[in-house]
């Protein structure tokens, strides 16, 4: 198999105040995979993804992106390869117009002229937000902001798209738009969430992280079926879903 897109080996990290955030993380993500990163609040999910694009440096262990180690000299290329979509789109959409915001990344990569225009148009079209190009970000709906911030990252043509809680604050229709967009995008994806049903809908593989360690890594269906595992790591399916699973032989409504 080719180089994994993300290869993390023996990664440890603790914050300056001594709080241990990550311990002995080993994680491989291969091209074309869509992986959910699950875990309770404070498990280390965000700390882990900030290592993938070099905002945090590994204290011990290594992080490699498509064969390129995360080191200070490689930072720009690493940040092109790893596209991070933040939780609050208002943090990410800082330029006066959608067009300029989507241009921000490619311009930092040195693109100009026709090449830049094409890159931006393709990214806007991929997220179906081309008609918003001239709008100011503060006048968009939350769902639109989410997709525009993804377009800004896709315009850098990343090898992996990393999304931090992409479904938070979305109404059901915007959530569905997002699902379609993610499934349609032809890029490796790592989706940080505690929305287990969303993981099941979108990601064939899931990884659970808790207290800075990876505690499960496997098919999303199997992981979500393991109620004891979920409960041990403060994850839970919505109440009604659990009941359905417990009562597989309930009477058929038509009969």
């Amino acid at each position: 198999m080719s180089d994994p897109v993300i290869e993390i080996l023996g990664l440890d990290f603790s914050y300056p105040d001594g709080t241990v955030a990550l311990m002995g993380i080993d994680l491989h993500i291969h091209r074309g995979e869509r992986v959910a990163l699950l875990g309770p609040n404070g498990a280390g999910k965000t700390t882990l993804i900030l290592h993938m694009n070099g905002i945090h440096r590994a204290q011990t262990g290594t992080v490699t992106v498509s064969g390129l180690p995360v080191t200070p000299t490689n930072l720009l290329e690493i940040r092109r390869r790893v596209g991070l979509v933040f939780q609050d789109p208002d943090d990410q959409l800082f330029m006066p117009t959608v067009q300029e915001d989507v241009e921000f990344g490619p311009r930092n990569l040195g693109l100009t002229g026709v090449e830049l225009e094409q890159r931006v148009a393709t990214a806007l079209a991929a997220l179906e937000v081309g008609d918003l190009a001239d709008r100011a970000p503060n006048h968009l709906s939350f769902g639109q902001k989410r997709r525009v911030s993804m377009a800004g990252v896709m315009a850098m043509e990343p090898e992996i798209l990393v999304l931090d809680e992409p479904t938070s604050n979305l109404d059901p229709a915007s959530r569905l738009d997002l699902t379609h967009a993610l499934i349609r995008l032809d890029v490796t994806q790592l989706i940080v969430t505690h929305d287990l049903l969303y993981a099941l809908e979108v990601c064939p593989r899931s990884v659970i992280i808790d207290s800075g360690r990876i505690v499960a890594d496997g098919s999303t269906g199997e992981i979500l079926a393991d109620a004891a595992l979920l409960a041990a790591h403060r994850l839970a399916l919505p109440a009604g879903i659990g009941l359905l699973a417990d009562a597989p032989n309930r009477p058929n409504e038509s009969g």
């Binding site: 900030l50 694009n53 905002i55 720009l76 940040r79 092109r80 596209g83 991070l84 933040f86 609050d88 208002d90 943090d91 990410q92 959409l93 800082f94 330029m95 006066p96 117009t97 300029e100 241009e103 921000f104 990344g105 311009r107 930092n108 990569l109 100009t112 001239d134 709008r135 100011a136 970000p137 503060n138 006048h139 800004g152 990252v153 850098m156």
Partner: protein, 254 residues
């Protein structure tokens, strides 16, 4: 509030003034402003011409008069202040409909009112015909340092976000029974502003992380402002040049 496009000062319309390159509009507005300010206050006719020029520009811009007038209200405190000058002013006094007013004060009032209202009208027409993003592009075309235009851009981008946060905080205070009736009830606002400061600071950090994640390395990418041609500059500067001709004539005549 404005529509989906642009800021609250912008009026969406198609007019030659809307199409004019932003850098030309900025320079023209500034030059016109200086002409107005440097005009001797006795030259009533000069101010009448400035008002006519601005009225013509406003008509060309297709910005509704109601909009212009409502935006002029921002000058109300200065107008009130100016109205006090003749009453509190010293020196020889004149009787106007039974009131004894200071002559010098009347002149000061007229000077302040005429110049500030004309200046304000210029700024309003500029704002109503130029989107913020274009204004920033215009400023960078005029070689205003990138740091300054980015700070202005961030300010415009986040002012709504911050106002939204503040509004929600005030609602949250009211929802838990905060009902200010006197200045002594304002203490929670102070705490809210403190909390806002920390939130905004933290947002700044997150925005910076997001910028770094998309390859930011200390320099904003240059925005490519459309070049304004010689013809556009000449046409765009006509009102400002006219104003200067009037101002110079007025100076020589007095």
């Amino acid at each position: 509030m404005s529509g989906a496009h642009g800021h609250a000062l912008y009026v969406h319309a198609r007019s030659p003034l809307h199409r004019l390159a932003p850098q030309v509009k900025v320079v023209s507005a500034l030059v016109l402003l200086f002409a107005v300010i440097s005009t001797p206050r006795q030259a009533f006719w000069a101010f009448a011409i400035y008002a006519a020029v601005l009225a013509a520009l406003a008509a060309v811009s297709r910005v509704p008069i109601r909009f212009l007038l409502s935006r002029m209200l921002v000058a109300a405190p200065f107008v009130l202040l100016a109205l006090l000058f003749p009453i509190v002013g010293s020196g020889p006094r004149v009787d106007v409909i039974g009131l004894s007013l200071s002559q010098a004060g009347l002149w000061d009032m007229w000077n302040l009112l005429a110049k500030s209202l004309l200046g304000l009208l210029t700024a309003i027409v500029l704002g109503a015909t130029t989107e913020v993003a274009d204004l920033l592009r215009g400023l960078s075309a005029l070689r205003v340092p990138g740091l300054v235009t980015s700070i202005l851009g961030f300010m415009v981008r986040y002012v709504d976000v911050i106002i939204g946060d503040l509004t929600r905080m005030r609602l949250a205070l009211a929802a838990r029974g905060h009902h200010p009736t006197s200045i002594r009830d304002w203490a929670p606002y102070g705490k809210a502003v403190g909390a806002m400061f920390i939130r905004t600071y933290e947002r700044g950090e997150r925005v910076y992380l997001a910028m770094e994640s998309r390859g930011y390395s200390g320099r904003m990418p240059d925005s490519e402002a459309a070049e304004a041609g010689r013809r556009e500059w000449l046409l765009g500067l006509v009102p400002a040049m006219l104003a200067w001709a009037v101002a110079l004539t007025a100076r020589m005549a007095t």
